[in-house]
């Protein structure tokens, strides 16, 4: 049993006490005003506590475990989003800063200048090739959607590669589940939009859990064909939810990742509890956003409750 990150895990365990519980969410759903919601959240966090942000959570985790490279996989989606933002800003001649997502592993000040100068060597190895390929594709075809698909697929592949390299089961499963969710979503959209095989082949990544060729073939057969294929895999439940509504499928995607994170609650050492805390904070922020938006639009309590993502605590 590795005793790595004993200090970081214990600190994270103490921080988990300030995450919102199911009762807190119920209270938030029952509030009438924004001020009431802010008061509930503030009382949970304790006096003088900073607002929960993913950037803050990431900085805290890195302060306790600065050498934990496997956690960087959690930010790959942000990294590749930022790559897309920088590429598109470059083509459109705009400033990219407003489109970036944080936290990220990339040096955002260096990203745009590096892409503009085509100096890909300045970028981390896992985005280098994709940046060059996406830039070439974008300038040649001016097809933003195709370039996005290429970057998204490259992101999933990079996650899988990095997770494999890390040797962490948690990260392997995280990368696999993230890829499966992204692939199903992409295949569904492609089948609805009746996209060509060549496009789908670029947009779908594939994984050990969901074979790329089968998924491409299934999505060429329309949504019926896709659902029929998914029903035969271990993602039959997800297919049913997707057939009902994409929002339910989105919730399923978040919940399976949270189920993975829940496994780390029993672990006293290692990087998994740190990753799980980051995922928990992500889910909490998403829940707060959903409550806020739903309350503003006057959505009823039952619907908001249905939309709530699984919690870690």
């Amino acid at each position: 049993m590795s005793t790595k990150y004993a200090n970081a895990v214990a600190a994270i365990r103490a921080m988990e006490n300030s995450l919102l519980s199911r009762n807190d969410l119920d209270q938030l759903i029952n509030t009438a005003t924004k001020t009431e919601r802010e008061n509930i959240v503030a009382s949970k966090r304790g006096s003088g506590a900073e607002e929960l942000t993913l950037e803050g959570v990431w900085e805290t985790i890195r302060a306790y475990a600065p050498d934990c490279r496997e956690l960087e996989i959690l930010l790959y989606r942000n990294d590749f989003h930022n790559l897309k933002a920088a590429l598109k800003s470059m083509i459109a001649g705009k400033e990219p800063q407003g489109y970036y997502i944080r936290p990220t592993n990339l040096d955002l000040d260096a990203l745009y200048p590096a892409l503009s100068a085509k100096d890909y060597e300045q970028l981390p190895e896992y985005v280098r090739g994709t940046a060059e390929e996406a830039y070439e594709l974008l300038t040649r075809t001016l097809d933003g959607q195709l370039a996005d698909s290429l970057v998204d697929t490259a992101c999933m592949r990079a996650m899988q590669r990095a997770a494999e390299k890390s040797g962490s089961d948690f990260m392997r499963k995280y990368a696999q589940l993230t890829t499966v969710c992204a692939d199903i979503k992409t295949a569904y959209r492609c089948s609805r939009m009746k996209k060509q095989r060549s496009f789908i082949e670029t947009a779908v990544c594939g994984s050990d859990a969901l074979d790329k060729d089968s998924l491409v073939r299934a999505s060429l057969g329309g949504t019926e064909g896709l659902f029929a294929y998914l029903e035969a895999t271990s993602y039959g439940d997800a297919a049913k939810l997707l057939a009902e509504s994409p929002a339910k499928f989105e919730k399923w995607c978040d919940d399976v990742i949270m189920e993975l994170a829940e496994g780390a609650r029993m672990e006293a050492f290692g990087a998994d509890p740190l990753a799980a805390y980051f995922i928990a904070a992500e889910a909490e922020l998403k829940n707060l956003r959903i409550i806020s938006v739903c309350k503003e639009s006057g959505t009823d309590r039952e619907t908001i409750t249905e939309r709530m993502r699984k919690l870690y605590v």
């Binding site: 049993m1 005793t3 004993a6 200090n7 970081a8 895990v9 214990a10 600190a11 994270i12 365990r13 103490a14 921080m15 988990e16 006490n17 306790y64 006293a268 050492f269």
Partner: protein
């Protein structure tokens, strides 16, 4: 000084050395975890301190065995006994239970207590359960200490 006496002194040194190393590792690990909790919630210091102390006992058992042994052979007291090789080996072997079990149990107790720090961090009211779980490991260190003392006192000089 006879070779037998050298063996007995070596045994006493091993008892203090190995058990002490185990305790240092165990206490260090719990200390790391405890510092993590205290950095977020300083009010939990006293609770995590109890857990941190637990793996320190093996070092004390090793020290106690070493003192008893050195006293038995007369090194403490100023009149060292003329031990035969057989007597020297007997003292050396008598030191092994606490030396080896002390080393291993302190490390494992440290891991258990560090995990217990996680309980204290999340559910301070269940702190006692973490202490009990870590204290269970202590049983084997106590048994080893008992065997080492019994052996030490039953060697004919």
């Amino acid at each position: 000084m006879t070779n037998g006496l050298v063996l007995a002194i070596l045994g006493a040194a091993l008892a203090a050395l190995l058990a002490g190393i185990g305790s240092a590792k165990g206490v260090g690990l719990v200390g790391e975890a405890a510092a993590g909790v205290v950095s977020v919630d300083p009010s939990k210091f006293s609770k995590v301190l109890i857990l941190e102390l637990l793996p320190g006992t093996q070092g004390l058992y090793g020290l106690l065995t070493a003192i008893l042994m050195l006293s038995r052979v007369g090194v403490i007291g100023g009149s060292p006994a003329e031990l035969t090789m057989a007597q020297g080996w007997s003292f050396f072997i008598a030191a092994l239970p606490i030396a080896v079990v002390g080393l291993i149990s302190a490390i494992f107790q440290g891991k258990t207590a560090a995990a217990g720090v996680g309980i204290t961090a999340k559910k301070p009211e269940h702190n006692g359960k973490g202490i009990i779980m870590a204290a269970m490991v202590e049983t084997y260190a106590i048994l080893a200490l008992l065997v080492s003392i019994l052996l030490t006192y039953n060697i004919n000089i």
